[in-house]
Amino acid sequence: PFLHIDPQSKVKDCPWYKRGFCRHGPHCRHQHLRRVLCMNYLAGFCPEGPNCKHMHPRFELPPLAD
């Protein structure tokens, strides 16, 4: 078996930052994409669902894989 290094991993969207906070800040190996929080989702419900132009961040912690 050979070591598979995913070339995309370096530019992977940081799941922690996507959640709202990443402790690694500028030193994170993943990408930190600035986004806008959906105010409806923040209130609890957004009828746009996956088609919303703003973010619906999940609060569940990302897997510990990295």
Partner: protein, 60 residues
């Protein structure tokens, strides 16, 4: 504000469709029923409070 419109006023309820991820629509583990109940409670609370106070509780 989002609480002003009722979920029942929506013609389409796409989160009910097969394959839909309900967490795309509902935050905090809400589903249609618990969200409706929450909105009703908010409304009653708002009436009881004569429209004061709630804004500061929900906007943050």
């Amino acid at each position: 504000a989002v609480h002003e419109f009722s979920i029942d006023s929506l013609e389409e309820k796409p989160w009910r469709k097969p394959g839909a991820d309900i967490t795309d629509y509902f935050n905090y583990g809400f589903n249609e029923e618990t969200w409706r109940a929450y909105c009703e409670r908010q409304k009653r609370f708002r009436v009881a409070e004569s429209g004061v106070g709630l804004a500061s509780l929900t906007q943050n």
